[in-house]
Amino acid sequence: MSDVQTAADVRVLHDKSRRTGTEVSVIVRAILGAMRITFKNLFRKPVTVHYPEKPRTYPDRYRGLLALVYEEDTGEEACIGCRLCEFVCPPAVIKVEMLKSEKRNYAKAFTLELYACEFCELCVQVCPTDAIVMMKSFDMPTADRREMLLDKDRLHAIGQQYPRSWATGNKLRDMQGPPKMARTEHAAAPQAPQAPQAPEGAAQ
């Protein structure tokens, strides 16, 4: 049992470890082989993307900027001010005030501190009305951090400005299987999700 390795031990272990042959041909071949690989790379196309002239392609599920959306059929704000997103947010960046009304509730004030947001998509997942979604873009460079404190108007504006990502609250919850299927293994595929997001077949 060696508590500390003295220098003598290090030297002994050093000598016992493997050594490769020091033949000149091996060395020369290895050096030339390494240089050949870097030389080959000289002629490969560079992987640089000339951002921002060329836009970056975002995948469907990209977790970008957050936005509030309007309902598609009525054109009203989808957010009902239920504050579920505020409670689930791990860094607590969302603040909502509810405004009660006869038919449905609204959000009187909705602030989201984007500079502290983790982009974890939990708020999107819990939203019962699919009101808060993420966009397929993160382009919001600014010189002043206060511009990243988004209020309701800015959130709605972002929602109109960029393409939306795939995820909404209902889609994410449906993907995790209806509650009836819980605790049974090898169950049939869940019926609810939309066709393009059906679970992958085994043979691909």
Binding site: S2, V4, R61, Q176, A182, H186
Partner: protein, 386 residues
């Protein structure tokens, strides 16, 4: 500043002039924020004092204030290079206490993403290690850029699966949050084929290279006794001749369904650890291919989708869940008290225990070897300081 402990006076150097040099927390090859106070005699290191804690962010306290639904996203930030590993340990601990079954499809998805994370993490390790040894302007940077180029393709895979590149929130108690989209399996196979071929290129660039060999063979030898005493894990342990891999010793999440080899080398030097990780690349790709072939149908979570923050309650109990991460054993000791938040959570960071071997191994080597050894230990300071 603390002084060098007395055990190091046994070193047989008639020290005439000792120089205390600080490899400070801001250093191009400190792998994060790590402070090593080196005592030098000429070029030889005779003492090492390691100072950590520059990245402490109170994870364990945070876990007491966040619920089981919220914390997995934060858990990514401990080992941010292989983020899924930390989430896995936490979620597994909660599931063990609550006796929650995880559907088979979710288990296979967890295996796929864990192994892809291992590949991505090892790519970053190889790049930064060669960067440390070769310099930011030099051959090391070339290999760094090659491995980062490959790692980007894996991160693109994760982006199309989860939406995020580095810090996911992929796991949740009971399963996973996202299912694989159409065409992902095919892209995954193509990516893995490219990576397989490129890893061959890196091996050819490095393995017979006399410069590389002379830097890594015989350097930083961890004897088998020392390895077992100090409590290191992962590729460090397997590079010193101890055949211990949690995926074999205590299989979790249906790892027993897959065929793979666990590489073990006996030399214990940096080159042995390098060989272990290079073989682990190929084995991880093998596991992912098997998992994609045998991926069963079914739900991806045994708990319903998240509807409210306190949805998941874990009954009273405590357990220690361990996962074979890219760096070693990542463990989570969880004490649950029946509510939606844990009572206490403790992380066992793999890198934290691995760093303990440094004061035993570094004395006797030259300054240039310090970076080679630290690179082969592969610490990530999010895990060390939490």
């Amino acid at each position: 500043m603390t002084t060098v402990s007395t055990t190091r006076q046994e070193l047989d150097y008639a020290g005439s002039e000792r120089l205390t040099m600080n490899m400070g927390p801001q250093h191009p090859s400190a792998h994060g924020v790590f402070r090593a106070i080196l005592q030098l005699e000429g070029e030889t290191v005779v003492g090492v004092d390691a100072v950590i804690g520059y990245l402490h962010r109170c994870h364990e306290k945070l876990a007491e204030t966040l619920t089981y639904a919220q914390y997995p996203s934060i858990a990514s930030k401990t080992d941010y290079v292989a983020a899924m590993t930390s989430e896995f340990a936490y979620v597994m601990a909660a599931e063990t206490i609550g006796k929650i079954e995880v559907p088979r499809r979710a288990q296979y998805l967890r295996v796929i993403t864990s192994e892809l994370q291992r590949v991505a993490s090892h790519l970053l390790w190889l790049g930064t290690w060669c960067l440390d040894m070769g310099g930011a302007l030099g051959g090391g940077a070339t290999i760094f850029l090659y491995t980062i180029r490959e790692r980007e393709t894996i991160l693109d895979l994760f982006e199309s699966l989860v939406g995020a590149r580095l810090l996911y929130g992929f796991y949740q108690v009971g399963g996973v949050r996202y299912d694989i989209p159409d065409g992902w399996a095919a892209t995954c196979r193509d990516t893995m084929a490219v990576i397989d071929q490129r890893i061959g290129e890196y091996e050819r660039m490095l393995e017979e290279n006399p410069f590389f060999l002379v830097r890594t063979q015989g350097v930083g030898v961890i004897s088998r006794d020392l390895a077992e005493d100090v409590g290191i894990s992962g590729p460090l342990l397997r590079g010193s001749g101890v055949a211990f891999d949690l995926r074999r010793a205590a299989p979790y999440s249906s790892y027993e369904d897959f065929e793979f080899n666990v590489p073990v080398e006996t030399a214990g030097d940096c080159f042995a650890r390098y060989r272990v990780r290079m073989v682990e690349f190929r084995e991880s790709l093998r596991i992912v291919r098997q998992a994609l072939d045998k991926l069963p149908e079914g739900p991806i979570s045994s708990r319903p989708g998240l509807k409210s923050v306190a949805q998941t309650r874990i009954p009273k109990g405590e357990t220690y869940a361990r996962v074979e991460g890219a760096r070693g054993e990542v463990g989570c000791y969880l004490v649950a008290d029946g509510s939606a938040k844990p009572y206490r959570m403790k992380w066992r960071g793999a890198s934290y225990s691995n760093l303990a071997v440094l004061p035993h191994v570094i004395p006797g080597h030259k300054v240039a070897d310090v970076v080679a050894i630290m690179g082969s230990v592969d610490p990530v300071f999010g895990e060390v300081d939490r």
